[in-house]
Symmetry: C2
Subunit: 434 residues, 2 copies
Amino acid sequence: VDTKNSQFVENELSLLRPADISTVLNEMDTEQAMFVMDLLTVETAAEIISYLDEDVCIPFIRNYPSETIAQWINYIDSDDAADILNELPLQTREEIIAFLDSKEKADYIIDLLHYEEDCAGGLMAKELISANINWTVIQAIDEIRRQAEKVEKIYSLYVVDNQERLLGRVSLKKIILSNDETRIADIYEQGIVAVKTYQDEDEVAEIMRKYDLAAVPVINERGKLMGRITIDDAVDVITEQAEEERQIITGISEDIEEDDNVLMLTRARLPWLIIGMAGGLMGARFIGLFEKDLAILPAMAFFIPLITATGGNVGIQSSSIVLQSLANKSMIGVNYFQRLFKVLIVAIINGVVISVIVFGFTIILGQTVNLAGIVAISLFFVVLLASFMGTITPLVLDKLGINPALAAGPFITTANDLLGLAVYFSTAHMLYSF
Amino acid sequence: VDTKNSQFVENELSLLRPADISTVLNEMDTEQAMFVMDLLTVETAAEIISYLDEDVCIPFIRNYPSETIAQWINYIDSDDAADILNELPLQTREEIIAFLDSKEKADYIIDLLHYEEDCAGGLMAKELISANINWTVIQAIDEIRRQAEKVEKIYSLYVVDNQERLLGRVSLKKIILSNDETRIADIYEQGIVAVKTYQDEDEVAEIMRKYDLAAVPVINERGKLMGRITIDDAVDVITEQAEEERQIITGISEDIEEDDNVLMLTRARLPWLIIGMAGGLMGARFIGLFEKDLAILPAMAFFIPLITATGGNVGIQSSSIVLQSLANKSMIGVNYFQRLFKVLIVAIINGVVISVIVFGFTIILGQTVNLAGIVAISLFFVVLLASFMGTITPLVLDKLGINPALAAGPFITTANDLLGLAVYFSTAHMLYSF
């Protein structure tokens, strides 16, 4: 590419699939990428654009005039097209729509721009094939022929009534195996799964996963067929959810990748480190209150990391188990009291085992029975408290509409550290007052 | 269900989809579930069995004789059937295979039992429709008719030569729009994506995600078409990966859910807590070595949680960013040296910011400039070291074929805690020697 040897590059490109070319382009600088794009047909270029990461795609296509972008959009499905246009300035957006070849495509995109990106309406494409319930198979085949170029992936036809309300579907398999004169009404499948335009993307992905669907129709409140979501979009939602959850749990605040620049990486990490630091300083202040106890029993300091680490580990484990239930929608209908009771039992078992072991080792380490008792008793209560907090926090966050994964993140771990210290030093203080 | 009112339950069931019934059965006890299953047709019962969680399904069906299980297996796709048989004792397995209606199905299942569960061969189903390259469209349609009952979801036909080697595919759309006499050779799509039987399930899922595939053909080393993986199986792989990663990061050692029993919950959590505890005890031992320094400067103890928490947070963040790169297969070809250099820059910036703030606050908290200096300097080095460890550990684990998510889990966090303490107390000791 660097030597601008068009012939060579063109040969290489012809061996690659569009998805692979887009992976390569993701890593190139703008000039190189533009050079490569010029060598491709409009159709291939369009497919590559639709595969590019959004944060690479938008800055890149802004190097081109609206007319060129419109040529690509002609070949891109309405859902991906709307996602791209959504990120462009209003004027560019309208210019592109005006340059589109087909009025229908323009209408599709304008319609999709109304929806939030993270609901079914924002995921769906308008391209689909529908058949009226009163048609025969041959009429449906004519419709497929008419739409074939526009709709790339066809798994089934959606069956609608005269008001375009969704009634069911017919698989292509059935179309092939039926007589031309068979009525759609006689072969279609009723009671199929559909989602509403306003349903959350997480819900849509979960529905497609649960029922093993390759595509799901989207209807509005009145049952009118509005679009179709294909499984590749749901897969992206599932992958993004998992990434988002990992970022939240590990304390990263933006969607960053290792190859982002230093400033972005720092910005995504620093806020969480500062929260942890603030917690640490509060911890320092708190331990300072017990300076006198420490002076009497300096060995108490030895066990500070044990107390805070155990509290953190227990809290994160507890939250993780609740996150799992929330993700799988299991435990619905099980009340809070039952859940907490079970958590309590598990915590008591874990707490007792750990406390007994720690008691033993503390004495082996040469500390007094007194200190070993303090450490073991406070550890037991730390396990109990952290289990409780770790269980209740994600449930409360979820009820408030906040991502419950936050409960396994650094904010709550920091809170658990402080709680652990409070238990430890209070226990010590009380036991020593006697 | 409890009152065994068959008529009522039957009515209710007829309103539900199999996937929903299986959700309900997951929560029932064995007797209730068997009562419900008796009310259903064999076909519906079979579909429900295939939807059940494995850990519920296997104990449940072992209540039935092999003959009944075989009747269900008749209706279950070969991939799910093989997964179920894999978990049954050898004798039951062979009995069931002997009871199957179709010799073909039996052969399919026996073939699939050879593959490991977590490779492409273990994911694929044998049910698919293939067309010889020399056929015409009408011959292909006859083949679809012949296989229609066995193959539920058909998106396209795989085109093979006389040795059954995969050449390409024809979409059903093309079949519908082509003349009966058209030769498959003239309309099929070449150079399609396929996976090898031995490829890892993670790779398969990533390939299907990258190329937006609803199904992918599986071939053996010689290019022979062996089976087909549909996207719903890849979605399950992606979901399981995400769950597994969360469990590893949060320190849970088995695939457990909140509704598992107390013993299982404890067993899954205790090992990690004990690792954390062991780390804590080693930390206690370590701090004990510096008892004299602590006696001179007891306020040093105040900042122990700050040091350990910061080390933990930085380490987890660093690992998380590497995990993201590994998952997206980005940064391939970027060498370790470049990666670490960038990590170093980010760590220096984060380290300087945090150290300066902590220095200021430590003085505000009323500590000496001396102590504030010790805390700030060691914090800076802790950030550096934890960044380095957090980056290098997942890369090394990945190279060793171990799940790199372990690097963001409690084991490494515990190691980072100890490292932090070492840096803190050594710095203090050195600075005080002067």
